[in-house]
Symmetry: C2
Subunit: 188 residues, 2 copies
């Protein structure tokens, strides 16, 4: 019995042109062979990878940060994090963002997982961590982060809120649910 090659089909990239190279987004149009064998084109984005951290203090409270997201037009609650700089280690980015946004630097980071926010348009991934052993550090915010607010709440409360729709940022929802599962598994 042979291999069923239909079950391994993927896209083949024959070539690529840059439609627009922006400061934060590059838009490509690839010439591709589709899974059915036909040739076509595909619009793809290059954006920075992300890193987010569920920072838990000694009594099990987590840091949530609220600031405004320009495309959405309002403020969103999220766990600390942001873009991974070119050449930067994702774990270092997570620790840096946590300190810059909350003023607390995790002494220990444990990987929670990696996910694709929008795999139909970009190969970018977001790296998620559980941060513990928090030590006081230095808040350093971009001008675009003026008005950022930090609040702390018990992890189980944050997870409950994430489930109500009050928290909608993808990395935050995934990270909180994964942190809760990891910590409840460890406690059980």
């Amino acid at each position: 019995m042979g291999v069923n090659h239909a079950e391994c089909r993927t896209w083949e990239r024959l070539g690529s042109e840059v439609l627009y190279r922006g400061a934060h987004v590059t838009l490509h149009r690839d010439r591709v062979v589709q899974p059915d064998g036909a040739e076509g084109t595909y619009e793809r984005l290059t954006i920075a990878d992300g890193a987010r951290v569920v920072a838990v203090d000694d009594v099990g409270w987590v840091a949530l940060v609220e600031d405004a997201f320009a495309p959405v037009g309002r403020r969103l609650l999220h766990v600390p994090g942001g873009g991974v700089a070119a050449g930067e280690d994702p774990e270092a980015a997570a620790a840096r963002e946590c300190e810059e946004e909350t003023g607390w630097r995790p002494g220990a980071l444990r990987p929670l997982g990696v996910f694709h926010p929008l795999p139909s348009r970009t190969s970018a991934v977001t790296h998620l961590y559980l941060g513990t052993a928090l030590r006081p550090g230095t808040v350093r915010r971009d001008p675009t982060e003026a008005g950022m607010r930090v609040c702390w709440m018990p992890l189980d409360e944050a997870v409950r809120v994430a489930g109500t729709g009050a928290v909608t940022e993808a990395g935050t929802v995934v990270a909180l649910l994964m942190a809760a599962r990891l910590l409840s598994a460890g406690a059980g």
Copy 2:
């Protein structure tokens, strides 16, 4: 005591130009007032909203679909779903995608939540549903979905797999974790 306006700061859009209008992606450069009051520019994308459904059969097994994602360059496992067409109701899109991809149409859909896959770049949201009362329907796949494979597994197994990093598509991870929480709360 007055309101602390710093705690309400957001971005203001003064104007917008289209840098590129593609078939599936439109790239905008907005002229904005940043949260700190300075003027600047912001690169923003318009893409279709999404809809995904955790389709659970009578014995608690869920449908997972595997197919190739062009930007990622490999096949990913995900719950059925896709783009919401212009003017389409997200719930109708979820039911339609479920039937097209798996051949089973949910007779009942229950909202699990809405999330922002990439709120730093787009206001697009993904609507998540729990689908039950599955009835046989008709598989209808795009040419780009050739080689799509459906597999069924117990919900708790799918949730476990999602937590290991084997499932990385954002909507799938969020939807599986939320479905598991909803169903375990209902059972408790």
